[in-house]
Symmetry: C2
DNA sequence: CGTTCGTTTGAAAAATTTCAATGCTAGTGG
DNA sequence: CCACTAGCATTGAAATTTTTCAAACGAACG
């Protein structure tokens, strides 16, 4: 189970875990020997659906994914955006029925790891279990931060906050720098994530551009005024619980 | 460390864990021998504060607690309400810095369990670790459901949904029945939890009363029309991941 | 070159907040 | 036992934010 792409897959996972936890050599080795099948997925494809009972976890190697739930009357709520290194459905290891869906935003490469292998690994290495557990806890901390936005911040503040968050998450795995990153999220998605209409998102983005805070064109975000953006979003990176701070 | 109240404490914890997971006899025994100190707290007292680095977990034995974060200009976001059996700061076991606060809503009795003891227990019993992990995952599932409300539901739907959720959570630990439960949450708290002004909460509650859905007086909630309330809140209990369904 | 999907614009409508005052109730001290 | 207070609930009116609707525009793709 160690084809070239599988080794790449597990290296990616180790990098991600080490951005939020510490691993021993033995633990790293154990992760490297996890079995996995890699797959390439098209944009807009579902990886797991609300109501499913998956038997494997999905490690995102390349591209973007997102978690969401469809309500009636065309309403949709997006819970999170995921980038390479993430295991967006890690929770399925202990929560057997999906209470939301997971899909791709872009073309994506994923590694599928059987739950059974993950359970063996976590049973045998409590330190790895703790690292995975911690990952799901950071996930929850991000949910809380989004709740703060949806509950108590203006549309402007919410969008600003999301931009700061995505930039730092990307930077932590080496996919962003110089206040510039890829952001393959439509204004409709942005609205569905932040609880806004796409029309309003559009207007707020224009306002942000007008104030010289950002540039956002063809899926590329450039943060022109980091400090101002942070202030507008009342952003404090503590909740990301990154080991090496990158703000 | 096995005074009468400590045994009561761990029995409470076992009951809670068994509402969402399955434990073996040996695991139950191990939990019963956890060390703990019980404390009585006054209403409105903080158990842990944003920025703290706690060294123990708090098992709620009696009374209500809640998690929240204070923003500037009098804004506040409440993330969750907690009832007996919950460990509201279980996450502190793997996330060392609090990114929000935990306080009491009513007078409360808590059992404090050192992190060290929790770590030993979870290292030695992967099944218990999995149960605790699962508990934090359900916690996250509830956050997601609140996000759906704040992002995509009307004030009416959000409040209805919260009432359904709290009722089922209480019922699962034997603290509610016959569509009636205690609810020591002010209209201000309700607003801070759901992202609404207290004034608007008040108006929506009147509307709910007018429609004969609920009665809410002196901290007691009576759900007069369960089916209608579920429909209004678009409530589906799947996300609570209770073992014994109680809807 | 025609679709399709996403962005942009304007105008009107709706939900919700804010402000400011008043009422209510339980607990406190006299 | 009663007045007093603090915290919560309620009300009305005006202001604001955000949504909805409807249409036009633009870029990418086959």
């Amino acid at each position: 189970m160690t084809s070239a792409s599988d080794i790449h897959a597990m290296t990616m996972l180790i990098r991600k875990l080490e951005s939020i936890a510490t691993l021993s050599d033995e633990e790293r080795q154990a992760i490297l020997s996890l079995p996995a099948k890699t797959r390439v997925l098209q944009p807009g494809q579902d990886i797991a659906r609300d109501g499913d009972t998956p038997s494997q976890c999905c490690l995102l190697l390349d591209g973007w994914a997102y978690r969401y739930k469809i309500l009636g009357e065309g309403r949709k709520q997006i819970f999170s955006f995921h980038i390479p290194g993430d295991i967006p459905d890690l929770q399925s290891l202990h929560i057997h029925t999906m209470d939301h869906s997971l899909g791709t935003l872009t073309q994506a490469m994923v590694a599928l790891i059987p739950h059974e292998a993950m359970r063996e690994l976590t049973t045998r290495y409590p330190g790895i279990a703790a690292a995975f557990w911690r990952d799901t806890l950071v996930d929850a901390a991000i949910f809380r931060e989004w709740m703060v936005g949806m509950g108590r911040k203006s549309a402007f503040g919410r969008i600003a906050h999301l931009f700061c968050e995505m930039y730092l998450k990307l930077e932590a795995v080496g996919l962003a720098g110089e206040h510039r990153c890829r952001l393959p999220i439509t204004q409709i998605d942005l609205g569905d994530a932040l609880g806004l209409s796409n029309v309003h998102v559009n207007r707020v983005l224009q306002e942000m551009r007008g104030k010289g805070l950002i540039t956002l064109r063809s899926n590329t975000l450039v943060i022109e005024a980091w400090d101002d953006l942070i202030r507008a979003g009342e952003f404090d990176p503590t909740y990301l619980h990154l080991q090496k701070r990158a703000a």
